[in-house]
Amino acid sequence: MTNIIQTDSITKVQNSLVTSVTKQVPTLTYTAVTGSEISYEPEKNSTWVVYDIQFTIHSRASAHVGIYGALVYEDSGSDVAFEYRFTGDAYNDGGYLIRYKFLIPSYTGERTWKFMSKYHYGTNWSQDLHEDEDGNQYFPITTMYSIM
């Protein structure tokens, strides 16, 4: 058998699909962001894997934004953090289209990935997910792919 796979390319693109979305209210401990979970096995001989997520947030109390995020994968039933992110501002009543992109060294086998978030201390530093200031709701978009 001969397999010819083009190198130096992006391949095995996979996305998370959610069919409905509602406002998600984070807590002071990490919880998974709706639509962030993907079970992904990299293409054989790939060098990197990209995890790319975007979702809408707005300041819950019309004050500040302070969203902590962690990209995690499941290993033997436990969540393992790959990297963390933090986006915040003060006194802006901010609304954001958050986009976090992660470059992950390729690995063998399938891993289940998800992006988890929590808010900063105090509800003035919290935010609602998937919703804008006017209550309009937006789907999150999560994509993974392999770089050969």
């Binding site: 083009q6 390319s9 391949t11 986006t87 992109k101 470059l103």
Partner: protein, 162 residues
Amino acid sequence: MSYLIKNKSNVSNVQAQKASSISTQSGTSSYQDLDSSDITYNCDSAAVKVVYEYTANFVYSGSSGVGQAKLVQYNTGTSAWEDVSSSHYVSWGFSTTSSNPRCNNTFKFVIDSWTGNKQLKLQWKVVSGGLTAHSSNGIFDLSNTLDASYLIKPFLVIYSIN
């Protein structure tokens, strides 16, 4: 049995690089290089465009911060760095006092293809307030323990579009 996996993608010659270790970079009013943004890239022979995507974290120093970044290329004729074009600039942040901006940005630039190697990198400066690159301003780990010195490694992905 033989089979060919036919790649119908028009994306090719994808290269990625990421800092293995990182220190913070304090922004100034003068342009400086962003870590891990420097690459020598040879387009795919059929390329029409090249996409340069750099991801990094920036946090305020003081109480506000607005940054500006530009894509530059090395001119082997003049042996000097030059702007790719006036349309390859980006800006981000907040200038209001106590706005405390902290953000993770992916800067995406699309460039016409070229022949041979070209060296590209991203330069940045502060235009208002203060900013520090690659700092997180502190994160909480999964156990809810604060890591005040957590750094976020920047990375670059570049590819050709045929």
